[in-house]
Amino acid sequence: MLKQIYLLTKIQLLNTGGFNQIRYGKDKKKRNNLILMLSSYLFVGLIFAAYMGIISFGMVLLGMGDMVPAVTAALVSIVVLFFTMIKAGSVIFEMKTYDMLASLPVSPTAIVVSRFLNMYVMDVAFGFIIMLPAGIISGVMMGKGIGYYLLYLIGILLVPLLPLTIATAVGALITAVSSRMKHKNLVTIVMTIGVTLVIILLSLSLSGTATEITITEEILGDLLEMVESQIFGMYPPARLFMEAVSYGNLLSGLLFLLVSACPFLLLIALVQKEFLAISSILYTHKSGAKYEMQELYQLSPVKALYKKELARYFSSSIYVLNTLIIYLIMILLAAAVAVFGAEKVEELMEFSDIVTKAMPLLLAMFGCMSSTTNCTISMEGKEWWLSLSLPIRARQLFDGKMMVNLTVALPCYLISEILLLFSLKGSVLDMVWLILVPLAYILLFTVFGITINSKMPVFKWEKEETAVKQGGALLIAMLIAMVSTIIPMIAVFIIPAGSQHLLYGIITCLVLAVTCILYVRNSRVDLRTLDD
């Protein structure tokens, strides 16, 4: 059994990172793309590691070094909770590879456990990036002994277990509940978004309460108290971890081990017991009543492509969740400004004047970070032959795909705009930029998603998660979206007051010009040259 678990986990991990392609692939372009993708991940990882290192350094200087394990553990837990929730159901209950493996002498338990381990290994890798540099820096600065490092390392392995368990349990529950409904995907999407937004609001409300203390009592003791209340409120087991690592309290360490591992093992036992029952409900297609020919309507090729793409989008809960959540956060941000006012939101974000000075760009950042087009070509997977063999031009195909993103993005943008236009004060020109800048960015990244995905498509995948979350195109598009909005944001703060209008004008023109250039270039792409 252990050997089977090991082999299955290994195969899944090899598939996840594309390591086998790099090692054995003969196609240089494909290898280079994969190396570029992994390098991008590494780059982002290094930025995170450096950032956490700096935070750790600062905390030690402020006399809060002992809190470093708790802070890093809480951060990892929240991120794991957030991201696992989105994918847990589809990863654990994926049936295509299960059907293939079930015909082999492999135990179902080994399959389920290996799927948990696959997610766990990825989460631990993330844990190492966030926690290790911070732990080493704080340990060295505080002159800690070997026991500190040993317990800290064990902690890195344990920290993702509890959030992974909670996220999987919620994800599995959502999957199980929705499997009994008529519109399974829609119910999964709505429920997961609901839970995720609750997590975001809860963590925001915790940080909001704590910030007030800093403003009223600016003394170090209160700062420590504030961080403690924030961290332990967000993730209570962090206290046990801190006591074990920072103060060498082995009983706390043992309790942390039990709190992390026991629920995880219990969940695995439960899931593997109910796996087949849930999966069979989930993937049994109800055969409708016998179809009788009805009147059919003719659409233009572009409309037909759009309709097909829309069906594709809503057929995949992981695709919807991964893209829609950022747009919903954009609405949340606008709603927060409308309800609490700009100053309160700036306080919450711990960034003064960000709303009053750079709202158009802030809105643009959320509006362009998760375009559905970033992975829309990859989502075609094995069905790509149809797009190649049908008499459709690249422009028609891409128009259909881009219209889906606009269908998702524009209503969110419009709601956000209405909320902001009625709540923010400013000149007519301020309002014009508030409308134009985010719109220009949404259009740009709708088009850019096609550009980047056509350069780095991933057609050979078994799980939708691979196309949605692991493509290099997605990461690069997100990075460029962030950089292209953050740089002008910095400029807004640097340039003299009154010059913002000129800056926004230049940005809008530039963004729209690039959009047009990319659109024309995309339209000329020879679809036959797209290959992963």
Binding site: K26, D27, K28, K29, H285, S287, G288, A289, K290, Y291, E292, M293, E295, L296, Y297, Q298, L299, S300, P301, K303, A304, L305, K307, K308, A311, R312, S315, S316, G381, K382, E383, W385, L386, L388, S389, L390, P391, I392, R393, D526, R528, T529
Partner: protein, 235 residues
């Protein structure tokens, strides 16, 4: 209808899949394309339907180059691969309607053809179900109906009989003959040599990317069976 002249295709990594291959498929032909696994059949077919690019030679569909006039050529072609992966998130009828939209088939014509071929392949009752619930054979039948919906002038099929039940296979053969009588051309690859021998008026045998034998079935086979000839060529 389909003219392939000196086609050569080399894949990335240096593998030469097809070498100087020439074929001429005329209106009314049912042309069988035979060869062992990896001989270059699928590569030739994919190049002919405009799915993959090629560096040497030319391919003309009804006189138009697939390289320069891909759209126009594809409007005349229907292609079904050996394992048709069809949009699983659509129902059968949605898929057929989508294909009809792409080819600009009028409302009346699409209804008439879907009704006709749906009954021929006994798929009409399942057209309201999602494609993901279909068996391999049902997907094959759906792909066949979608290929026939726009009355193609050239039908290119890669292993069309795999996965079909005997009744559907027989119906497909009848349809192929009917289409050819109406002036269309059919080019298909197969491993079922008996079918090729009985159904095709012309055959071509490909080995290691090069054409070994081509011509009318009678001339090629002479006093042997197609199977004997094929085994002789393969050595």
């Amino acid at each position: 209808m389909l003219y392939i002249n000196n086609l050569s295709k080399t894949y990335k990594g240096g593998k030469r899949a097809v070498s100087n291959l020439s074929l001429n498929i005329e209106a009314g032909d049912i042309y069988g394309f035979i060869g062992h696994n990896g001989a270059g059949k699928t590569t030739t077919i994919k190049a002919a339907v405009g799915i993959i690019d090629f560096e040497e030679g030319e391919i003309l569909v009804d006189g138009l180059s697939i390289k320069d006039k891909a759209q126009e050529c594809k409007m005349k072609i229907a292609y079904i691969p050996d394992n048709p992966d069809i949009y699983e998130y659509l129902t059968g009828i949605q898929y057929l309607n989508f294909i009809a939209d792409i080819f600009g088939v009028s409302q009346t014509e699409r209804e008439e053809r879907i009704r006709k071929y749906g009954e021929v392949f006994e798929l009409t009752p399942a057209l309201g179900d999602l494609v993901s619930s279909y068996s391999h054979g049902m997907k094959q039948k759906l792909a066949l109906i979608s290929a026939l919906i726009h009355q193609p002038r050239l039908l290119i099929l890669d292993e069309p009989f795999v996965g079909l039940d005997p009744k559907a296979s027989a119906r497909l053969k009848e349809i192929m003959q009917e289409l050819c009588r109406e002036g269309a051309a059919i080019f298909f690859s197969t491993h079922v040599l008996e079918v090729a021998e009985k159904l095709c008026n012309k055959v071509a045998i490909i080995k290691n990317g090069s054409l070994v034998v081509t011509g009318s079935t009678e001339e090629v086979v002479q006093d042997k069976s197609l199977e004997e000839l094929f085994l002789e060529i393969e050595g």
